[in-house]
């Protein structure tokens, strides 16, 4: 139970941090914000790495590798496309 309360504490505080930080993002950057935050939600990748790496049964390995593929697409695609977009935002010459 104590572990759960600690995790819940982190969860609730992180939501508040999220609200504080995200409300400061201007509307002009909302698309990069979505693709960028999307890349961050690909953090599930580390759970997938642990699951696949255990090599427990062929089934857990298969599910783990599938999760790695999907999460890696999310991470690599997300950060890269965000980078591509942000590079287009220029000031007046």
């Amino acid at each position: 139970m104590e572990g759960f309360i600690a995790a819940l504490t982190i969860f609730v505080l992180a939501i508040f941090v999220g609200f504080e930080v995200i409300t400061k993002v201007p509307p002009t950057l909302h698309t990069p914000l979505m693709s960028g935050s999307n890349a961050i939600s690909g953090i599930t990748l580390i759970g997938a790495l642990i699951a696949a790496g255990m090599g427990h049964t062929w089934l857990t390995t298969l599910l783990g590798v599938l999760a790695i593929i999907l999460a890696t697409i999310n991470v690599v695609g997300g950060f890269l496309v965000t980078h591509r977009m942000l590079a287009m935002f220029r000031r007046k010459r």
Partner: protein, 462 residues
């Protein structure tokens, strides 16, 4: 690497994510912010791999390589107009990864049945439901945005009733997982039911409401990651998941506010075309004035301040490059040119800004609705291009209209208004637009791109 060092590395990764999102507060600091986020991710991955306990290295690298290449190709090839589909797809993949990881964790934990905690089982069920809904809902959103066959299918009568039954079924199946773990078969049944729910939740939603759906699915993908964090008792997953969940929720709220509709109304109600709206003929009859490129060129010659009001139609016509050329031409003659962007102008939050940025329009020239509206009376010419409902004055006046109360860009307050449009056809709301018949409005009936090209030629000729 000991668990202590690993957790410290995760803490640094979480801090980098927060700093990265903080960087997005300004276009200048945003590229660095994105790099910080990527650095945090790399650190978390390395810390996980160095953490020990990993036997199957081969499969891990196969997975990373396949996913990396697909992600690379997707990110480099995607057109900016297709960004909503891309983000929908990425949302979905994140959700799918979450329910797969939860499934693996459940299978591994089944070896030590005594180890099941309430946190683990509840989080696993949540991860399965939210992950699956996110994945299948995102696929439907992708399907609709990509314009694949059947995109306009909006479900069957009573679809919301079926959804309520599916939600109750999910709760019941989740309860079994919590009460009698491991229940692996029940978990997969839960994922299946949630899949149907995900499809049926998004199917009834129309094209122009997609910004809300994508933002909401964005939030869901974060919630799924956070739930997986509770499954694995992993703090960096919980932190990142809640950051993304909060972000998606804020964007959802902003989009709903920009349409003056509640989230349940967007998700569950049919929209537009109410009979209470005034008849198109009564409004347009004898009052609509068509114009030519030459007349517009003369009008622009005398202007000192011009504002473009772009809508999604501009992107469809690929007219943003021509618009930029016209803007450059006008600026070279000392005319001030800006762009007024409505929050729901594109197919996702901020979409219009990216499309104009791609066409080399400096970001200082992209003005927010609330920011530019007080100045609209000082604008000499407002050029509405591919937008309709977001400049409809009925939103301010008519209490019965489906768009009543929706904040609009006050195009009608400009001294002269030019509407570039193929015909007088209504927008998504299905109602006529009195702006087209206003005294200070002229219509230029033409394809968006061709229209702007012709205006450029006419301005050069004067």
């Amino acid at each position: 690497m000991s668990a202590t060092w690993q957790n410290l590395a995760y803490l640094i990764a979480a801090v980098l994510f927060i700093l990265g999102l903080k960087g997005l507060a300004h276009p200048r600091s945003a590229p660095r912010g994105n790099l910080l986020g990527a650095l945090g991710m790399l650190l978390a991955i390395v810390a996980t791999l160095a953490g020990g306990g990993i036997i199957g290295w081969g499969w891990i690298f196969v997975g990373l390589a396949i996913g990396g290449v697909i992600g690379l190709v997707l990110a480099l090839k995607v057109q900016m107009t297709a960004m909503p589909q891309m983000v929908a797809l990425l949302n979905g993949f994140g959700g799918a990864a979450s329910f797969l990881v939860a499934a693996t964790a459940l299978a591994l934990q089944a070896e030590v049945p005594a180890g099941f905690t309430l946190q683990f089982t509840i989080a696993t069920a949540a991860s399965g439901v939210v992950g699956s809904v996110t994945f299948w809902g995102s696929l439907v959103a992708f399907w609709k945005l990509q314009g694949l066959p059947g995109e306009n299918w909006q479900g069957f009568p009573g679809v919301q009733l079926v959804n309520i039954v599916l939600v109750l079924l999910c709760v019941a199946l989740g309860w079994i997982i919590v009460a009698q773990p491991p229940a692996i078969g029940v978990y997969w049944l839960l994922v299946l039911v949630a899949a149907v729910l995900g499809v049926l939740l998004v199917v009834p939603i129309g094209g122009a409401d997609m910004p809300v759906v994508i933002a909401l699915l964005n939030s869901y993908s974060g919630v799924a990651a956070a739930a997986t964090g509770f499954v694995l008792s992993n703090s960096v997953l919980i932190i990142s998941g809640s950051l993304v969940g909060a972000s998606g929720l804020i964007l959802t709220a902003i989009m709903c506010k920009a349409m003056n509709r509640s989230l349940p109304n967007v998700l569950f109600a049919k929209f537009g075309g109410e009979s209470s709206a005034p008849k198109a003929d009564d409004i347009y009859e004898g009052k609509v004035k068509a114009t030519t490129a030459e007349e517009l060129a003369m009008m622009l010659e005398d202007a000192r301040r011009v504002v473009f009001i772009p809508g999604y139609g501009m992107a469809v016509a690929q007219a943003q490059y021509a618009v930029r050329d016209l803007a450059n031409l006008l600026e070279s003659r000392g005319i001030n040119v800006e762009y007024a962007i409505h929050p729901v102008a594109g197919r996702m939050p901020g979409h219009m800004n990216v499309l104009l940025a791609e066409a080399n329009v400096p970001y200082e020239k992209l003005r927010e609705m609330d920011d530019i509206n007080p100045e609209m009376a000082q604008v000499d010419v407002a050029i509405v291009l591919g937008a309709n409902d977001v400049v409809n004055p009925l939103a301010r006046a008519d209490g019965n209209s489906p768009i009543a109360g929706m904040p609009i860009i006050d195009a009608d307050k400009a001294r002269q208004v030019v509407v570039v449009k193929r015909s007088l056809s209504p927008g998504y709301a299905g109602i006529p637009n009195p702006l087209f018949a206003a005294d200070n409005t002229v219509m230029f009936f033409n394809d968006g791109n061709k229209a702007v090209q012709e205006i450029i030629a006419a301005v050069k000729a004067t």
